[in-house]
Symmetry: C2
């Protein structure tokens, strides 16, 4: 293709035939060089994150930087925070139609378009970070995820993980299942469905409205991410709080979305660079959250008087039962969700059996006196 | 530089006198082309793994393939199994002196040269895979690891993780600490030191001699990796065995070693490609082991009559106490080890506090009835 273009341009230069013959090689080179310069692939990355949002937003920024630098500038990705080019929840559509060539967000935001997508962020009482990564990359997960997104002209990849998210902030203690009765809690996705099953009222609010809603008492509780993000978000200032460990997002995967045509138009090496940069971002975010959550948690407890409490075992058991019912219902409502749920269950049974004698046995043995 | 040359030549295009110059340019281009061809960077990767060794050896192969493909052939890495170019335990020296430009193995193999290196593979009752990755990439670990290797002209990177390794294969049940008395067990590194403290006899054998030693009774027990590798290695055939969960290598990091001059001679984009390919390999191996260990474990139990047993809690407690003593001794013997141990302890206290309310709380809550 380059060659054809070259000859086309040479014809326009208007040189004599002899010159062409004599210098054809040289010209071809020149033009190839000029073309190479013109060939910088300018990509837009739209994200669901506020500007400079710690961990999630900065993870997207770092991914763009990696792609730009690893490609030596052949790809130039410019990142847009939520609302800068399109609103947060239009990222999926914007990349689908090619307004942007890539996006960064989380798959469960798109459950209205593809209910099965939510299995690829987090499932209540489902996979930990290590488990969901293994399912996606070695358990058939990615193939299913690609199948879900193909009709939308999109290619998904795992692009970050928060680890176990906290169960949330509550303005009262949760001592029994009855304490969930009528509880108005900001909790999106599958976790919200589970809360509804145990008598609560899930409320879906964008991040920017959480603080005020807590302060005015419009909601009694909220989940957000984990100590690192929750501290940065200042939630502890909104009321006196009890802070509980998590059950509903035990290893939330962030996603990079690529416009299928844009991705497939890349030469093979750039495709592999994009894939490796994304995989690197996926690992990097978990490493960051794992390192930074504890200091933030200590600050919340020691400087901001947040009370850390565990849910009682019978509450967790009831939430677990309600979670299984919720997943069964989601699966029954949609053939693709059923297919993904079957894979999730099969892989889940195996990986839990393995982690019973490895991760879990070890992490408990380590705490023995 | 490219830009200057290009415009310089374009200015001459079409002029008779300059045609010669332009044609000279052609010559120069050809030469540049030849040079470019000659510029393929041929690297050798020596490894500590037998040819086609599942997970660890194939992980090294995949890393080479990624570098080759992501660089579009600008780097060409050829992989050598243990013994093909240098013996397994000469990988460190071979890369240090530049016989090979990179290596793949595990840092604790080099404890004779740099005792502090062993903290970067696995520590008894130390970090899980998720924790060691976070320490290395976000807790100051990598900087220390680089400091240890700098005098050897080497740059280390994390390049794979097995997850929690099994505690090993025993020809009798371990019901109390007394059962370790006089037990001859193949167990290298810090785990071996700990075994010695509780009365056992650690024996260091290369992989190839384990099977026969078990069969003849020269050793009573061995650890290797985990079900996926142990099944492939056929250990279950050597005797009637009890198989125990692990404590001594709770998330073993494999390493890629780069010759410092070779790595630093790469242009920036290739350096970043090598780093991302290595980070990808690091994640990929853990995903693979996490996905494949369970089936192998089930095969061992159900088809090969291996008995899976937990160590009693008091045995684990004693091993943990002996582990801490061992680490204190290693640290006291060498200033660099002390520096690394201090970082390990500080990060460890924080990450365990966080995992107490996240990973551990969750993984236990998930198993509630």
């Amino acid at each position: 293709m380059i060659k054809i273009k070259t000859w086309g341009k040479l014809a326009l230069v208007g040189l004599t035939a002899a010159t062409l013959v004599a210098c054809g090689g040289s010209e071809e080179k020149e033009t190839a060089k000029v073309e190479k310069k013109a060939e910088v692939i300018n990509w837009k990355m739209v994200t669901t994150w506020p500007k400079n949002f710690p961990g999630l937003g900065t993870g997207a920024e770092n991914l763009a930087k990696s792609i730009n630098e690893m490609s030596n500038g052949r790809i130039n990705v410019k990142v847009y925070a939520a609302g800068e080019l399109v609103p947060a929840l239009e990222v999926f559509d914007a990349v689908s139609r090619g307004t942007a060539q890539m996006g960064h967000g989380a798959a469960y935001y798109w459950k209205g378009k593809a209910p099965a997508a939510q299995f690829f962020t987090a499932v209540p009482f489902g996979f930990t970070a290590q488990e969901i990564n293994s399912w996606i990359h070695h358990g058939g997960g990615l193939k299913l995820w690609e199948e879900i997104y193909a009709p939308f002209n999109l290619i998904p990849m795992a692009a970050g993980n928060t680890g176990v998210q906290m169960g949330g902030w509550f303005n009262k203690e949760i001592n029994s299942l009855e304490d969930f009765q009528g509880l108005k809690m900001r909790i999106p996705g599958l976790g919200g469905e589970v809360l509804k099953k145990v008598g609560g009222t899930p409320i879906n609010l964008p991040g920017g409205e959480i603080f005020t809603s807590l302060q005015t008492g419009a909601i009694d509780a909220t989940e957000w991410v984990g100590p690192y993000n929750d501290l940065a978000f200042g939630l502890y200032k909104a009321a006196k709080f009890y802070y509980y460990p998590g059950w509903h997002e035990p290893g939330s995967t962030m996603e990079a979305l690529y416009n299928k045509e844009a991705f497939e138009a890349l030469p093979k090496d750039l495709q592999l660079i994009v894939r490796a940069a994304t995989r690197q971002a996926n690992a990097e975010m978990l490493d960051e959250f794992t390192a930074l959550n504890n200091s933030a948690l200590q600050t919340l407890i020691n400087e901001h008087n947040v009370t850390l409490k565990p849910f009682p075992d019978d509450v967790l058991s009831a939430l677990k039962k309600a979670s299984t019912e919720t997943l069964e219902e989601v699966a029954a409502a949609d053939p693709m969700s059923q297919k993904v749920y079957d894979s999730f269950k099969e892989f889940g049974a195996k990986v839990r059996a393995w982690h019973e004698v490895s991760e879990r046995a070890y992490i408990n043995a380590r705490e023995l006196e």
